[in-house]
């Protein structure tokens, strides 16, 4: 299962990711991304994989990471 992880120590609330993945992420009151439905990681369905990779590539501070969940 592919997951999207947010590195909050790097995140500056630019908001490119919340634009690209509105089904998975929503901006909080200050522009920082929150996973819809809560949790630390966003599960990425196959249909949104390409978009998620774009978001990972476009984040100006490289605060997003796509990876597989462990277990």
């Amino acid at each position: 299962m592919t997951e999207l992880r947010i590195d909050f120590a790097a995140c500056d609330g630019h908001g490119a990711c919340t634009d690209l993945l509105p089904d998975l992420l929503v901006a909080d009151d200050w522009g920082f991304p929150a996973v819809r439905g809560g949790g630390r990681r966003a599960v990425v369905p196959d249909g949104l994989l390409a978009r998620a990779r774009e978001a990972e590539r476009l984040c100006p501070v490289l605060a997003l990471r796509l990876g597989s969940s462990r277990g």
């Binding site: 909050f8 995140c11 909080d28 522009g31 920082f32 929150a34 996973v35 809560g38």
Partner: protein, 365 residues
């Protein structure tokens, strides 16, 4: 019991060969708040290879906690015995004790100087801690020891792989290592929990059998509880006084027991707690920097009776914005403490929504 009055001397625990087995059999859990099994953690650092570091975490950033300082002042050699035993087990040539400036730091510094050659190849260093609540988080301690600001690591390399000076590092609480010291010396450690009881007259450190009922312990200590108790420290959980809780390691976490006085409002205390937590943020992530002050603002308003139903909804929403987010657990745990107050005292919350306060009325009556 751990809080022994017998003289404290080094017992030469460098090289206890089956320490991890002893830890596994005793099921020792960490006493720094996370309650993780110690055997598995030492095993993992050992597997990472030799040349590691054991850090003794005596920072004790919880403002109400005194148990670690008490252990350092009364049994510093026991703590060092445990640290050295752990160090030789994982192949670490260095032990670094980090403690807040004060009698505890002085005592362990003196003790480290008194050990002569008893620790074999292990070298013990003693370093003053950075101040602040978050400074006690294990990766923040390592950052401080490495010469950086005392900020927790975000995502990234785990400490056991690369920690202090890039070496495999395990960070353990003072009490955890004191208990490890007892295991190294005698093969067993008492099935107790160490608590700091926050009373009106000041903090009181006591040791009780694990699983003791909270209300029984408080009764025995002569502490009357008002509406309830905050168990586990500023990142702990509120319990109403009509519920009894067994004092297990998982329940007590950092070991702080903060009962409410008669007439003391839980929501007012929660607001003070959140204020402290918000001020303690190291501001390295958005949720903490912006979310915690907002949470403080809302809990203050609730405590003052200025929040209506919409306001309480806004408070719950803000709590939801902080749970499971942030560079470390600080915003998450702080939000959960507020959530536990809302769950534990629903009648009080309802009263405050109407501008009243049950706790204050109970005293006036």
């Amino acid at each position: 019991m751990m809080l022994t009055t017998s003289p404290d001397r080094p017992a030469g625990t460098a090289g206890v060969p089956d320490l991890i087995d002893r830890l596994r059999r005793s099921g020792l859990q960490g006493r720094g708040g996370a309650a993780r099994p110690v055997a598995a953690e030492l095993d993992r650092v050992r597997a990472a290879g030799p040349g590691g570091v054991v850090v003794v975490n005596g920072v004790e950033g919880e403002p109400l906690s005194r148990k670690d300082a008490t252990l350092l002042t009364t049994v510093p050699h026991l703590v060092l015995d445990g640290a050295v035993a752990a160090a030789t087990t994982v192949g670490a040539p260095d032990v670094v004790v980090c403690a807040a400036a004060g009698p505890g730091l002085e005592a362990v510094r003196r003790a480290a100087g008194e050990r002569g050659g008893v620790d074999g190849p292990v070298h013990v260093h003693v370093v003053a801690a950075a101040p602040g609540f978050v400074a006690g988080q294990e990766s923040a301690v390592v950052a401080h020891l490495d010469g950086f600001a005392a900020r927790p690591r975000g995502t990234g390399v785990p400490l056991w792989r690369s920690g202090l000076a890039g070496r495999p590092t395990v960070v353990k609480n003072v009490e955890t290592l004191a208990r490890t010291g007892l295991l190294a010396r005698h093969g067993h450690q008492p099935d107790t929990v160490l608590l700091t009881l926050a009373t009106a007259a000041g903090p009181r450190v006591l040791e009780v059998p694990a699983g003791s009922a909270l209300d029984v312990v408080l009764d025995r200590e002569g502490v009357a509880t008002g509406a309830g108790v905050l168990l586990g420290g500023y990142h702990g959980t509120w319990t109403p006084s009509d519920v009894t809780v067994p004092l297990t390691v998982d329940a007590v976490r950092a070991g702080v027991v903060r009962p409410l006085l008669a007439g003391e409002c839980p929501l007012a205390v929660t607001a003070v707690v959140v204020g402290h937590l918000a001020a303690a943020s190291v501001r390295q992530c958005g949720p903490c920097t912006f979310g915690l002050p907002r949470l403080h603002q809302l809990t203050l308003a609730l405590a003052a009776g200025r929040l209506d139903a919409d306001g309480v909804h806004e408070l719950r929403r803000t709590v939801g914005l902080l749970v499971d987010r942030g560079a470390c657990r600080h915003p998450d745990a702080s939000a959960r403490t507020v959530a536990s107050a809302l769950t534990a005292f629903p009648a009080e919350v309802a009263a405050h929504r109407r501008g009243a306060c049950l706790a204050a009325r109970a005293v006036a009556a």
